[in-house]
Amino acid sequence: MTATPESLLAAGAGAIAAAVREGKASATAIVEASFARAAAVDAGPRGLNCILSSDRDASLRAVESALVGGALAGVPVVLKDNIATTTLSTSCGSKILEGYVSPYESAVARKLREAGAILVGKGNMDEFAMGSSTEFSAYGPARNPTDRTRVPGGSSGGSAAAVAAGIVPIAFGSETGGSVRQPAAFCGVVGVKPTYGRISRFGLVAFASSLDNIGVFGRTVDDAARAMEAVSGDDTRDDATSAPLAAPALRTDSRDLAGLVIGKPREYFPASLSAAMRAHCDRAIDALRARGAEIRDVSLPHTDLALPVYYIIAPAECSANLARFDGVRYGLRVEGDGLRGMYEATRSKGFGAEVTRRILLGTYVLSAGYYDAYYRKAQDVRALIANDFTRVWASGVHALFTPTTAAPAFTIGAISDPYEMYLCDLFTVAANLAEIPAISIPIGRIGGLPVGGQVIAPRFGEAAMFRVSYALEAELGGAAHA
């Protein structure tokens, strides 16, 4: 036994699972190390505040009952606080679900348990996943491990920060418009948004059902692939929109991209993109070329419509999805004058400003007389955006490379205009609208802060997406973190 629990935790999910399976490491010790790491970095007024709830005893009990042969044996994991778990509460970063413990388990939590992973905490998040900075959490903002005055991104900022800070090697978030890829880029880790339907949403508290995905974080591409493999696969029994497909094989030893055509969509490299960001992207593209890929300029002409369309569809769906938080059956109830008074008091008190804003927006765009002008038109444009990608794939392009965000993490409190905050999702939101997979990989630093590059692939094209990601990570090597 040479590896300490701490060094295994730092080495990643693959190393931990191998050591635990071979009896060379104690899962208990690794989980203890994870809690120790959290205690060191997460708590206190200057702590990261990336974990909303945890229960050391419950996690250690889970180790005892866990299967040691699983693909993620003994791997401590954090789940975003909108993924239902029976041992820890699922508050969605909201007061309206404070202390709420789900009586049933999400598909993702179950698959992770079956793979031997150990839940050690629930990740902080923007309330109901609405936000891009984790500042809209009812439980205080999470902080970026690289610079604690800055945001970790969002809405899955807690999960991203937990991975970046070494509390866990992999974590799970959710994506509606970039909520995994953007915090992954800000925190300098790998973040994956799979094809819509690839991972069951059963037990993921809905924000915008047609856009929501479970996503994964890892410090390496390989760990992200392991995490993806563990939670993918058919769940049509509980989730009508999950695909009837087996979990794909995503891990590969190949770092060669010969024969692959990678598109560079010009709309993702606007004139306004900073020289520093452009330089990192150019270096990444050179890396892809160095591994044998052909780089081709392509166009996705409806790109500038993605954000406006997103901010119609997502609030519309959210206005219905959040109607169930009415104080009747669970969660917060604030008494008021009669039934209507109770609804108003509960929802006014329970929801924060951003959630309220989006419910109101969504209610408005679905209202009689506005539906055709907003929601129906947005759906039509959504089809055009998806078609942009379809046409590119049909022209022989296997994947696309873009920046994940235009700039690195901003300072907590720096963005107060909601619209400016929405612009954080500029490069990520189209993949959600088109239901295609995308991944963010660290490609360098600007002013000491991590930035990410994005690889986008066709529907259910995760294998190709990972092949590109492995090669990019290998070619960039230490440069990705410099």
Partner: protein, 475 residues
């Protein structure tokens, strides 16, 4: 004067589909269970739960649509109907809006009248709010939440309360035949909302309608329509106008009054349900459901008239339920005589069912055995009097008619020597009647036949007795 006005009615009928489990989860649909026992994360709308469509519900809904002659769309779309109410756990009902399951059908309601059916769409039921159980509180029972329904919307082509009743009875008959629903208004598996308006005869445009809810029987539908129609007419006669609103029928006070909430003005903000993909049905699947449809009452009645020579009334009685018709047809097959089978089923069988309160499905006498009994009568082996005795024994003990008749000595006697012996005895015992008969008082023949039948305990073949008596009168 309501005679100057024409009643315009359109009906919206909600029918609970006869599935074992709910529309979007695997909870039981069983009626009358303790409150909130048939619930799960999905129908409680717990955070993160998702709906999965019950295929059987689609099949039954399609069956209903085909039975009513609607075009079933190969692609229909579920939608969310948004409103807040404590017995609606998700804050929206999964329904269908602009892309329903089926459109354009019709229903014959008798008297040559046919009412158009606009559409049938699928949706889920809400839970039940119980206002009178706990003083000061409303209790919620979510057992019913998520139970699959179809809504059947008629064209505004119904012109009287009687036609509304006929429409509902015809609709129920078809849905029962198709085994789509129990159609029980008491258990809430069939519910009716009625849209009514009045217009002066001769006017072609529709006037403002009101919707009547809370109708718990077909006769209440008719009563409520009359009341509401009369109100419309009175308002128009007084120079007033009708406001579009929801009305509630109060059966105890026999009145229709405005509901407090203005449901008509509600904006449900329908949009496609993103948790369910569009419902795609292949032509082959729809055809398969069509093959599974039973023969419907109208066609069956026509066949009974043509093949069995039955009158309209008899045919209607025998096809009142699908099971009654099935039973009758099996009796015909076993007996070889449709008329006799019809008489037996309508008289003895019906009387016995009425007496015991049993359903034809649970009737003790198998149709083949009743057919055997009728065959014995037809073949002259059993008198109709004796047959009734055998019938009673079969009901009590079961078994084949012939064996029982033999055992109980009830088989008809057609043997001349035995009959002559009985006649001789009657002659000796009733010399007065015999003498007068012999002297030519022919009207006494019936009395004498009766004496012989009684003496034979019903076994004598009355036809032969008549012949033999006729011969004596001639001497």
């Amino acid at each position: 004067m309501s005679a100057a006005y024409e009643m315009i009615v359109g009906l919206e009928v909600h029918v609970q589909l006869k599935t074992r489990t709910k529309a979007f989860c695997r909870c039981s649909t069983s009626f009358g269970d303790p409150p909130n026992t048939n619930t799960c994360p999905v129908c409680l709308a717990l955070p993160g739960a998702l709906p999965v469509l019950n295929e059987r519900a689609v099949e039954l809904a399609t069956k209903a649509a085909l039975a009513l002659g609607l075009d079933v769309h190969e692609r229909s779309v579920f939608a969310r109907k948004n409103y807040f109410y404590p017995d609606l756990p998700k804050g929206y009902q999964i329904s269908q809006a602009d892309r329903p399951l089926a459109e354009r059908g019709s229903l014959a309601i008798g008297g040559g009248r046919t009412i158009g059916i606009t559409r049938i769409h699928m949706e889920e039921d809400a839970g039940k709010s119980v206002h009178d159980r706990f003083p000061g509180f409303t209790a919620i029972d979510l057992n019913r939440a998520g139970v699959p329904l179809i809504e059947i919307v008629s064209e505004p082509e119904i012109r009287s309360s009687a036609e509304a009743g006929a429409y509902l009875r015809a609709l129920r008959e078809i849905l029962l035949y198709a085994e789509v629903s129990d159609c029980s208004m008491e258990e809430g598996s069939l519910r009716v909302d009625a849209n009514v308006s009045a217009r002066p005869r001769g006017e072609t445009a529709y006037r403002t309608r009101t919707e009547i809810k809370n109708l718990n029987s077909f006769s209440n539908v008719e009563r409520a329509l009359e009341l509401e129609f009369a109100r419309h007419c009175a308002v128009y006669d007084a120079g007033g106008s009708i406001v579009q609103q929801t009305m509630l029928f109060d059966a105890h006070k026999n009145e229709v009054r405005g509901a407090r909430s203005k449901e008509g003005s509600h904006d449900y903000r329908y949009f496609p349900e993103p948790d369910l993909p569009p419902l795609v049905l292949t032509p082959a699947w729809i055809q398969g459901v069509r093959y599974g449809l039973p023969e419907f009452p109208t066609a069956r009645r026509a066949r009974y008239a043509k093949d069995f020579g039955l009158g309209e009334t008899d045919a209607a009685v025998l096809t009142a339920t699908r099971e009654m018709g099935d039973y009758f047809e099996k009796v015909v097959a076993a007996s070889g005589d449709a008329k006799m089978a019809a008489n037996w089923v309508m008289s003895e069988v019906s009387a016995s069912l009425n007496e015991s309160g049993a359903d034809i499905r649970a009737f003790a006498l198998r149709p083949a055995d009743l057919g055997g009994l009728i065959a014995l009568i037809k073949g002259g082996a059993l008198s109709s009097t004796a047959a009734k005795t055998v019938f009673a024994t079969m009901l009590k003990e079961g078994g084949a008619a012939k064996a029982i008749a033999e055992r109980d000595g009830l088989l008809q006697v057609g043997d001349d020597s035995a009959l002559v012996a009985w006649i001789d005895e009657v002659w000796a015992e009733h010399p007065d009647e015999a003498g007068r008969f012999a002297a030519g008082e022919r009207k006494l023949q019936g009395v004498l036949v009766g004496f012989v039948m009684k003496k034979s305990k019903g076994r004598a073949d009355p036809k032969k007795v008549n012949q033999l008596l006729g011969a004596r009168a001639g001497t």
